[in-house]
Amino acid sequence: MADEVILLDFWPSPFGMRVRIALAEKGIKYEYKEEDLRNKSPMLLQMNPVHKKIPVLIHNGNPICESLIAVQYIDEVWNDKNPLLPSDPYKRSQARFWADYVDKKIYDLGRKIWTSKGEEREGAKKEFIEVLKLLEEQLGDKTYFGGDKLGFVDIALVPFYTWFKALETFGTLNINSECPKFVAWANRCMQKESVSKSLPDQNQVFDFIADVKKNEGEEKEAAKEEFLEGVQLLKEQLGDKPYFGGDNLGLVDVALIPFICYYHNYNICDNFINEARCPKIIAWSKRCTLKQTVSKLFPEEKRAKEFVSQKRKDLKNE
């Protein structure tokens, strides 16, 4: 009976690429199904109800989730050729350790490089290069991390090579000059058909990441505009009164103060609510802050900023 193998994937995903490489190394015929991550298929939601993520390998109707788990599964089931993990238990444990290290470091640092700014970005860049150098040390004089043949760590790591153009452009990095050994290793991997056929072109991935950044940026700008429109409407409501409630703070003042404060007083979001754009509202907000009932309730600026920073991180991880 023939095996039925399906891969639910998303073309720019480095995690999906890992499974593609493993399947190609073993010469396994499979059906590739491209997922639209903004509109996940019923099959994906059924096969990976816990994480709802790709890649999902489906073998004879049985789903295997998590890329490194799927690669190990492939190695164990199709064990007749091209072993992906070493046969020696200690070497196997080292391969698992370094694949886990790649998982812990590369993705998050890479993302930080093209999503963050300023000091945070510089920190991420520095750490990223350090990680690559450590991996270079691990590679040593070997052709691949797996020795003479492509192995588990190679498969775990090489997909991130497709990010390099984006990282170098958005991060102003020169990976080739900082880590030439790493790039040489990646190019060696690309010489293998199982890798070159499984990985998209760096330019394609660059365009994809540029689009994501643009959309995130555009969405942000659109949201800011809408917020400001709302503020203008409220300004008309305020009229010439000192407060929305008239001579004293009223319900609307109390409802609105916290939001204006976050953006104006704490300068979260590049001070887009400023005197130039909405002078009347800023004047109102200053009047409110003069009232002790209001000013003593504001959390300390540092804490507020930490809170926002954590929220941003959480939202990115969802």
Partner: protein, 226 residues
Amino acid sequence: MAKDYGEVKFFGTVGSPFAKRVQIALDLKGVQYTYFEEDLRNKSELLLKYNPIHKKVPVLVHKGRPLAESLVILEYIDEIWGSNHPLLPQQPYDKALARFWSRFIDDKCLPAILKAAFTANKEEREKGSEESLEALEYLENELKDKFFGGESIGLVDIAASYLAFWLPAIEEAVGLKLLTSDKFPKLHKWGQEFTNHPVVKKTLPQREKVVGFFKARYASIIAASK
């Protein structure tokens, strides 16, 4: 004739749940080892030599070769001391599932529990509780036998030891109610079976000490937020 497996050294701390995972596995398999208790505020040269990347416990050193990361170590132990109390199933698909749930515990359960207990911000804590309950629900549905490993303790049970022992201690220390018997009857019962297993019971640390540690941790988080 008893097989000579070679010298085994194990670096851990009494308080580390990850170190205890490895210790439980070693003890279940009857492995002879030399234990080194680390002081994490003053890490030994040996620890830094054997785990220069993460500088953490647990570290296992077998025949002079070091291993780090608890789940990696557990699989290695199961491969070397395979015939004594096997931890992983034989079939590749069952193995994949065991690995999936072990990772789920580390990647989803534990961070949610820590968020639910040890965050100053009330909204964050509530979110953490929600996430914890969701994660526990998945495990409740996954549990089909006495243990995740079937009739005997397996990899997932050992990974989930945090839920059996440390979570109840956190709940007591912080005043949280997550793994209750009415919401999670199977998981709750599993927790008791697990902690009462003779080998596990001997290996686990003293409960009062762990509760005390968590109480102190909670107090310092609250104090720092004022």
